[in-house]
Symmetry: C2
Subunit: 96 residues, 2 copies
DNA sequence: AGGATAATTCGATAACCATTGAACTAATTA
DNA sequence: TAATTAGTTCAATGGTTATCGAATTATCCT
């Protein structure tokens, strides 16, 4: 499999990512996805303390920020971490 | 000069920093401070497009997140970037 | 077909927060 | 002392957004 590289991020992309990870719950979700342990959305809700609607909302935000890919397969959604985008974000933050 | 090191950040500290840099204007301010070019608050307002009250508010947020130090000297405030905290934040983000 | 499961969309609500004018404190200067 | 300057605090406002129930779509299973 290839990997779409992301070398530089625009300021708007930076802002979107920063905003996306600013929410603690969203950051936790991103962590879970990045660990590769989970694939389907339902596994993100460990203890039923968050509604499916909210999860769906957060996933959409993460996707629109470019941090994850969502690939539907049957009735489940495969979530994958865009490590290249994340790295590009870190590179940018490292400049200051 | 010594440097107070910051090795690890709690989850609350991570959340606070993420929230602090999520605001574009605050991130821009942090960038300016990190560049070392500016010291007094007034220099942050390049084109008078932001009120003193708002600047003061953002600086307080950055300070409470641990990202900057504010040292009053006479009637001006000396702003300095906590590079150690920033690095600790980057280290944490780099884990995923 | 009918029922269960996975996830999304919609609408409403409540909380959060960036922004500012005005009033204020403290320090410098005339 | 009076005036000016740097910055803060307060209270109000408007916009954003996290959250969820309910309804919906699509898929899988019997």
């Amino acid at each position: 499999m290839s990997a779409v590289r992301k070398s530089r991020l625009s300021q708007d992309e930076i802002d979107a990512i920063a905003r996306a990870v600013a929410d603690p719950r969203r950051f936790a979700i991103l962590q879970q996805i990045s660990s590769g342990a989970v694939t389907p959305c339902s596994k993100l809700n460990e203890h039923n303390c968050i509604s499916p609607a909210t999860i769906s909302h957060h996933l959409k935000e993460l996707q629109e920020a470019g941090l994850i890919d969502i690939a539907r397969e049957g009735r489940t959604a495969n979530l994958s971490f865009r490590r290249d985008v994340w790295q590009a974000y870190l590179d940018r933050l490292g400049q200051l």
